[in-house]
């Protein structure tokens, strides 16, 4: 929120509150920050925004712009693209990519990479799938030796997490292992918890190898990318896919909707909370004499968000059934899940010391170390969060596919998620990125196969080539904006 017009008189600027005039020297100096109250009106706020863009801080603009361009292109080529049914389809297709990408943002913020997140999601989902289909008897489903190895691995992960004093991870892993010992994991909620605890355990082990032992994350996760595929094959035994369609809860995540009334209620509560928080912050900061956005800007942004999401909810609440006999309407159940996680992790990244330290480690690990931050612990914690998100993404993907085949999470899954984060604006160099990047980028990544699939006479080879082009474009934006900021 830099205010470029240094030297202009600033009537009403609460400079006096900044430094309680201890001495003439201090009061004089305080006046240098007199215009450090940010933009005072919407015009100035807009000017500052343009200034930031010019300075190379593009934020979500390239991704949103790209999204709009893609929507216009596909809508003009194919009539089916803008149909109600396809809109819901697009969101459910994007959800697993978004979830995986959200976990990866934590890794990318460190300047690390996790190539194994896709196949690791297969391992987590497979354990859940086996538990659900085999009456919770993982001992029989996996075979005793494999079962024991899995439990020992989780014990090791719990010990390591304890060593770094990451108690939440210890709790999740131990509780998950205990649930595995019972037959409760035949039910959906305990099964999901077991999957997440496996994801957390995997994240702990990967994080330790990267942060403590010091193996480059590229190598560790390249090895595990292959390794988890093997583990998944081992879990599947004779190679047949695990069918999760019979479990209603899991299957409904991606394939069922909230009723229109619930949808509107979720929308109203979210918007009210958003407006309350943003206005509240603006008022509070104003009262404290700090930089605060003009209320007009806050109101405009809130209104735009409410309008866009309102239209989306309205469209999703329309009946999109293809025949008169079927009625499909409402928000896909996975969407609120994505939004809740988005809000939660945004809070973690921007409002907690952990989030601040994560950015610091990604920006300058040595500075973080000298500031007394336990760099290894932060790195391990980031991999743990990513591991948990990996499992959640795996559950969503299993729900969408209806099964867990032997190549689950392989191929492009991971690369699409990394691409989503990067297209959204997260830097591969570390230290720069937001949670929302994975969500916006995930939409861009999902819209390409979705839109191309609706166009007749277009070879499928185009899909990958166009995705590649979009990713390269996003990476260039990142590299160029970086050059621009450092050149100043």
């Amino acid at each position: 929120m830099s205010s470029p017009d240094l030297g202009q008189p600033t009537p009403g600027a609460p400079a006096a509150q900044v430094a309680p005039a201890a001495s003439p020297g201090v009061a004089l100096a305080a006046s240098d920050f007199a215009n450090d109250v940010g933009a005072r009106n919407a015009r100035e706020a807009f000017g500052n925004y343009i200034q930031r863009l010019r300075g190379g801080d593009m934020g979500a603009l390239p991704a949103v712009g790209g999204l709009i361009v893609l929507v216009i292109v596909f809508a003009s080529i194919s009539g089916g693209f803008l149909s109600k049914g396809n809109f819901a389809n697009l969101l459910t297709q994007a959800a697993p990519i978004m979830l995986l990408g959200m976990g990866l943002v934590f890794i990318l913020l460190l300047g690390e990479i996790d190539l194994s997140a896709g196949t690791a999601s297969g391992v987590s989902a497979a354990i859940m799938g086996l538990a659900l289909t085999q009456g919770g008897d993982l001992n029989q489903a996996l075979g005793t030796p494999v079962y024991v190895i899995v439990l020992l691995g989780m014990l090791a992960a719990a010990l390591v997490a304890g060593f770094y004093r990451i108690w939440i991870a210890v709790g999740v892993i131990v509780l998950g292992a205990l649930v595995m010992l019972t037959s409760w994991d035949q039910y959906a909620i305990p099964g999901i918890f077991v999957a997440i605890s496996v994801g957390v355990a995997i994240g702990t082990l990967v994080g330790t190898m990267v942060a403590k032992i010091g193996i480059p994350s590229f190598v560790v996760t390249l090895a595990l990318f292959l390794g988890w595929q093997g583990v998944l094959l081992q879990f599947l035994g004779n190679g047949s896919a695990i069918d999760v369609r019979r479990n209603d809860f899991i299957f409904n995540l991606e394939n069922s909707n909230f009723s229109p009334a619930v949808g509107w209620a979720i929308w109203a509560v979210s918007i009210a909370a958003y407006l309350g928080l943003t206005f509240g912050r603006s008022f509070r900061r104003r009262r404290a004499g700090l930089t605060a956005e003009p209320l007009l800007v806050v109101a405009l942004r809130g209104f735009t968000l409410a309008a866009i999401t309102g239209v989306a909810v309205y469209v999703l609440n329309e009946n999109r059934g293809r025949t008169v006999f079927t009625k499909i309407e409402g928000i896909p159940k996975i969407i609120p899940v994505v939004l809740v996680l988005l809000v939660f992790f945004t809070f973690i990244l921007t409002r907690t010391a952990f989030g601040r330290h994560l950015y610091a480690v990604g920006g300058n690990a040595e500075a973080a170390r000298r500031a007394g931050i336990d760099v290894v612990r932060i790195r391990v914690a980031a991999f743990i969060i990513s591991g948990a998100m990996t499992a959640i993404a795996g559950i969503a993907l299993a729900s969408r596919l209806g099964s867990i085949p032997s190549d689950f999470g392989g191929r492009n899954t991971l690369l699409f998620a990394v691409a989503a984060a990067v297209i959204g604006g997260t830097s591969l160099f570390g230290g720069k990125g937001k949670m929302r990047d994975a969500v916006i980028g995930g939409l861009v990544i999902a819209i390409i196969p979705n839109g191309l699939g609706l166009i007749k006479d277009i070879p499928s080879s185009y899909e990958l080539m166009i995705t590649a082009g979009v990713l390269l474009l996003a990476a260039s934006v990142d590299a160029l904006s970086r050059k621009r900021t450092s050149a100043r």
Binding site: A19, T352, R356, G363, T485
Partner: protein, 259 residues
């Protein structure tokens, strides 16, 4: 000498394997005064600072802070006493803004969340008390600052915590004329505020201009600890390069032994 020393080192020795890096170093840092620590490359300046920072354990020697014996076994010990060290390669995270950098690792929290308002206010107060005029906004990203401004932020970070002794490792090394001016003024102001300042520098102009004492290291020995007004630039250079200058400095035997 106006006061008793704030920080005092007596007979500090440090070896890395067979290499004896510090020989019986005695050093005193007074409140309200700038002590220049000079010496050629390899004289042991950085090692001495790292011993005080608690990064290297010393082999023998005593440390006194406020007249009381203390020991430095880790980075937290020095910080706990109010000793801050501003390293040459500024320990700032480019991707964070000034407030975030100033409070890095010591964030103020309220209900488990970051208390941005308090941190921002305190950051402004600190910068204002140092009479820093060149920073437009405390919410500017550090990557957009000039070298002098970055050095200023690094120093502000060190004094934000009511520290009493500040070590500055070549703060003007990479700066232009105007920026050097800025930083030297800041160094002087720190001392005027009652802090004990140790300025490590290769630049004799800076040393002559801003320091009250000069402590010259020569091959791991303290060649001389004199008042700046009593020596000429030429004499300081001689102390640095040969360990003695006229009657000052090490005996011929000591310098030869070190060779």
């Amino acid at each position: 000498m106006p006061d008793s020393p704030l920080l005092e080192l007596r007979g500090v020795n440090k070896s890395f394997g067979p290499v004896h890096v510090l020989h019986d170093i005695d050093l005193k840092v007074y409140p309200g005064q700038v002590t220049a620590l000079v010496g050629d490359n390899g004289a042991g300046k950085s090692t001495l600072v790292k011993c005080i920072a608690g990064i290297y354990p010393v082999d023998s020697g005593e440390f006194f802070f406020d007249g009381k014996p203390v020991s430095f076994s880790g980075p937290r010990d020095a910080a706990g006493l109010g000793i801050e060290i501003v390293y040459q390669d500024l320990a700032l995270a480019d991707n964070l803004d000034i407030v975030q950098n100033l409070f890095l690792g010591r964030e103020i929290r309220k209900f488990g969340m970051l208390d941005e308002a308090t941190m921002e206010r305190k950051a402004r107060e600190t910068l204002a008390s140092l009479a820093v005029r060149t920073v437009k906004s405390v919410r500017q990203s550090v990557s957009s600052l000039s070298g002098g401004q970055r050095q200023t932020v690094a120093i502000a970070k060190a004094v934000l915590w009511n520290s009493r002794v500040v070590f500055l490792d070549e703060p003007t090394a990479a700066l232009g004329v105007a920026q050097t001016r800025q930083v030297l003024d800041l160094v002087r102001r720190l001392a005027d505020n009652g802090l004990g300042v140790v300025l490590i520098s290769h630049n004799m102009n800076d040393v002559k201009e801003v320091s009250d004492h000069v402590a010259a290291l020569f091959l791991g020995r303290l060649a001389a600890d004199v008042e700046t007004k009593d020596v000429t630039t030429g004499q300081i250079v001689e102390l640095i390069t040969s360990g003695r200058s006229g009657s000052m400095g090490l005996s011929a035997a000591a310098t030869n032994a070190s060779m």
